[in-house]
């Protein structure tokens, strides 16, 4: 019986491993490729070198692109988190006709094809003359990431006991102070989780940014994508990507440890 149990577990784990290999292999390969000493990746690699990491740290072009991505990511996160949190609060604390419709509306960007949206948006931006501006890019990213913020905050608020707010009120806290002392401290893990998600979504966005991004605000993934579509990937970007992914995974693990974010998404 015990043996049978162990056998089942082994098969089970092997099956799970397939999923994990499919998911992780490409990322692992990028790590490998970043240590290649050739100008292009091929397997088996011809040798080991850190030259691309050195190039990555010396390249101001990529530093610029990365800082643009960082800036856009932070601003888009601020916008979509604020809008998403407020909307989720309103949706979770009141009932009105058309609520389901508004909820669907706010989640719509999850389902609609981004590539076509970007082309429509480009024309509307041109008409409003905000094409190529930081504002335009941030708004676009905010619109894309809003559904994540709304979803995560909706579930966060649904876990927030409303009587806590009532209790604070009866103890003399004005609505503003209820928010500051009770609501915010209790929802911050959710806020951080959705901030993480919105930021990463924005930081990695390609499809829309390729068309929307202006010259001054050319994000890192757009650079990567254009390289991939023209002369070929500069191995420097592979080194940078490998570092980014490593950082992101470390952050994700820390986030999981302290925020349990995987349970909130």
């Amino acid at each position: 019986m015990k043996l049978r149990r162990a056998a089942i577990d082994t098969v089970w784990i092997a099956w799970m491993a397939i999923g994990y290999i499919v998911v992780l292999m490409p990322i692992v390969v990028v790590f490998f490729a970043s240590f290649s000493d050739g100008n292009t990746f091929r397997f088996p690699p011809s040798g080991f070198s850190l030259k691309w990491y050195q190039a990555a740290f010396e390249s101001s072009e990529y530093r610029n692109a990365l800082s643009v991505s960082l800036l856009v990511g932070i601003l888009a996160t601020l916008v979509s988190l604020t809008a998403g949190t407020l909307a989720a609060y309103a949706l979770s604390r009141s009932t009105f006709r058309g609520k389901t419709m508004i909820e669907t509306l706010l989640l719509a960007p999850l389902a609609l094809p981004h590539i076509v949206w970007a082309i429509g948006l480009l024309q509307i931006y041109a008409w409003l003359s905000i094409g190529g501006t930081l504002l335009g890019l941030v708004l676009a990213h905010a619109a894309l990431t809003l559904p994540f913020a709304v979803r995560i905050m909706l579930s966060t608020f649904s876990q927030l006991d409303k009587t806590l707010q009532d209790a604070a009120t009866t103890l003399g806290a004005s609505p503003m102070r209820v928010v500051v002392h009770i609501v915010l401290p209790l929802i911050w893990p959710g806020v951080l989780t959705s901030a993480l998600f919105t930021f990463l979504t924005s930081f990695n966005e390609v499809t829309v940014s390729v068309l929307i991004a202006g010259s001054r605000y050319l994000t890192y993934p757009v650079r990567l994508y254009s390289e991939l579509r023209s002369q070929g990937i500069d191995p420097t970007t592979i080194a940078i990507s490998a570092m980014l992914v490593a950082m992101i995974i470390v952050f994700a693990l820390i986030g999981e440890r302290f925020l349990n974010w995987s349970r909130r998404v």
Binding site: T163, L164, A167, L171, H181
Partner: protein, 374 residues
Amino acid sequence: MTDHGDNQQGRNLTSAYLSISGMAKAYRGTPALKSVDLDVNEGEFVALLGPSGCGKSTLLRLVAGLLEPDEGTITLADQRIGHLPAYKRDIGLVFQNYALFPHMTVARNVRFGLDMRNMPRAEAETRVADALALVKLEHLAARMPSELSGGQQQRVALARAIAIRPRLLLLDEPLSNLDAVLRASVRTELRELHARTGLTIVMVTHDQVEAMTMADRIAVMSDGEVLQHDTPQQIYEQPASDFVAKFVGTPPAAMLQVDRKIDGRFAVGDTIWSPSPELEAVLAPIQRVAVALGLRPDHLALTSADAPHALPATIRTVEYLGAERLVHVEAGGQMLVIRLSADEPVVTGAVGVAIVKSPPVFDLTTGLRLGRAG
């Protein structure tokens, strides 16, 4: 039945500490409260008693200011507070689930209301200590709520509500989340606390034992209305309606339908029955074809089947409760309960039930009390 409580006559608007009048509230067109009037005197402990959904919690939240009434006024200590937002009312509320702030220590929870009043730190600390001492939890001040037992959480919630020296303390089902053993001791503690602090307390409960044992006065509510607002004794002995009679008491009053035949005799089911002269005197002036007698166990005695004025009955079950026994009998197709002391012998077989005390009489259709002695 009138829309208003029993105490309507002789009500003095200015003397009541808390005065609720014409309070009405509907949720999406469904009325939860239908024009409720209620007065509470200073220092009084009042229980709002009723089954779930009767509107008692709605009334409590309206008083606290957590809900806005559709109609009606609230006066507290001669001040109209209906327009005040909840956070300016100085009314303490202990929630059914305690609603302790999970991210704050016990001490910070208790101090919260004081911080909201911008009280100087030193003074606030003293008050927190006092409040915690009152509920005997000084030693747990540094704990987080998640580290406390249910009973301890309840006392923290109480301390937190008391620390702000509220003008009125509201308790929402304070005992419902406690186990049976704890419930009895907390009942006594709350009584004592009331005595020590002199606070005016309004408590919501669906448990009539809690209401009877703790409150100075009870407002029995049903279906968005206050049926009777009176002392526990009056509620028990002089219920204003069959609902009150059936809701209060352990076991509750049994309703015995008594028909009056065309020839003036009385009948219970198919059995012709002649009531005792005292009872007949009560029943005679009531011009009804049928009435209901609200019979509590102590209204009744077990006799032999052929005793005068006795109702022929059959014993169904006997409940042994230690000091006493409850005998369930069937008379004329209706169930009655009689209380016997444990050493009293139980007669078996065909027995008789004697009505030894005049019971309240209710209208069969409206449920209202009939022929009350002036």
